[in-house]
């Protein structure tokens, strides 16, 4: 760490790695934090939630980023909630469908239904867009619908959220699931996609914020049980209302009530 001391005592370097979903947000927050503490440098790297968790365990990173809750086999780590995000189903804007039931979605993803006609749409083949294993979004989706990944039969497997959106926007028969914030932002920009209602609830950041939307996930910062003081200070900053505007600007839902520091 750097020798020169800041007026409020914080100096040094912080390395943060992990989720590509969270990275743009943390980058923005880090920039603001650096401005307040000129002798602090925060390096944000990506590579996926899994890498964030792994790097924290290996002490390669001070803080990890994960776009999901920690699993039972990750109890050695501490998650710090940063924001919330929903996972919504999307179809092409030209698709007349507005809502699918839980059973219909399971049927579509497990290759029992192959035609939009069977679920009340126009007769057209369903193109199932699925995420690659290891992606947090996929885990949230599978857990919500109680599907085992090997049972899924898809036509396209995508990596990033925007990959899913561009795929659905380019193929009128496609269905996929992505971060709601991302989908909303793109829809506002005129990308021809549509978010489906889920369990009767509109898929939007507002319903995620209110807790009404059923399929949502936390965006977390991950540390070991004893993070260095600078890391703790940064996490505290990330959870403070000072950064709510940044959270919203990245189309996520800020945590309004006092955050739960432990998971």
């Amino acid at each position: 760490s750097l020798p020169n001391r800041d007026s409020d005592g914080f100096s040094g370097q912080l390395t943060i790695t992990g989720s590509s979903t969270v990275a743009p947000l943390v980058t923005e927050i880090a920039k603001r934090f650096e401005k307040q503490h000129p002798s602090v440098r925060i390096d944000v790297q990506t590579g996926g939630s899994g890498k964030g968790i792994a790097d924290v365990r290996l002490s390669v990173a001070d803080i990890g980023m994960a776009s999901r809750a920690l699993g039972s086999d990750e109890s050695d780590l501490t998650a710090h909630r940063l924001a919330a995000d929903g996972v919504g189903l999307i179809v092409h804007a030209s698709n007349p469908i507005v809502e699918l039931t839980q059973e219909q979605i399971i049927a579509i993803y497990t290759d029992q239904t192959n035609d939009w006609g069977d679920v009340g749409g126009d007769n057209d083949k369903i193109i199932v867009v699925h995420k690659a294993e290891g992606r947090a979004t996929l885990e949230v989706f599978l857990e919500h619908f109680g599907i085992e990944n090997p049972a899924v039969k898809s036509d396209v497997i995508v990596g990033e959220n925007e990959h899913a959106i561009k795929t659905v926007a380019g193929a009128p028969g496609a269905i996929g699931y992505v971060s709601i914030g991302t989908a909303e932002a793109d829809r506002e920009l005129g990308v021809p996609i549509k978010l489906l209602r889920l369990g009767g609830v509109e898929a939007s950041t507002a319903t995620v914020a209110s807790g009404a939307f059923p399929m949502s996930r936390p965006l977390n910062l991950i540390t070991t049980d004893s993070p260095i003081p600078l890391a703790s200070e940064f996490i505290r900053f990330c959870q403070s209302p000072d950064v709510h505007d940044l959270v919203r600007s990245q189309y996520f839902v800020p945590i309004e009530n006092e955050p739960d520091r432990a998971k």
């Binding site: 899994g50 890498k51 792994a54 290891g134 036509d155 497997i157 795929t167 380019g170 193929a171």
Partner: protein, 286 residues
Amino acid sequence: MSRTVRSDWILTVLTRSLAIVSAAIILLILSFLLRESLPALRQLGIVRFVTDVSWHPLSGQFNFMPMVVATLVTSLGAIVIAAPLGIASAVFTHFYAPSKLAVWYRRLIELLAGIPSVVFGLWGLVVLAPIVANLGGSGQNLFTATVVLGLMVLPTVALLSDSAIASVPREWIQGAAALGMQRSAIVGQIVLPGAKRGIGSGIILALTRALGETMAVLMLAGNIVEMPTSLLSPGRTLNANIALELGYASSAHRSVLFVSGLMLMLVVATIVIAVSRRQRTTHDGE
């Protein structure tokens, strides 16, 4: 020993050491890959990569043959597209294009070589795939990936063929022309045979590049791990697989990914060595 000799000797030693450093990089990479793949090779053995039911690494199924096939199909397909177009491009700039156009054409090809694979991927994803989708499906399949991959490696073939053709002696071309050979015959019988080796190595380089491309293919091939049945079926290449799964892979799974990387390199090495053997024997035979 005199000064002159010493400077030559220094040159030899220096350049040879540099050559050894260059060559050693591949050994470094190989040993790194080997170290990382050793656990999988020890635990699972090689047979499981071929005999397992399918690729479900989290459920302990590690058959990556469908991905090997997809990799070969896209790479060879890319060469089938890039080789004729690339050679034709080189011939075009030398023998058919008006000289002004030739300069710009060559510049454009060089530009193509520098366009990031991400941009190719984006173009394929946003522009080409929706067009291919009219043939059914999402438009993300081996065909789309192959076409874009072909475009990406085209400059390699075109530029190396270009310089190979440029090194064919002028005298041969003038001599052939003076014998009343037409342009097409001069190109086909004198120039291309004369540039054969350079063009061949351009194609090999392009093939190895195609085998190594990751991002664009990841964005376009559909990434389903299944034995492809046609060009229009989606598929996942080994590179795309590494890029998709390495982020979260741990223990045996991670190690298997390195095995697939190692395998890819072995495929490349086999091609390269087979070709260099053949080239040598045909050369001796001449």
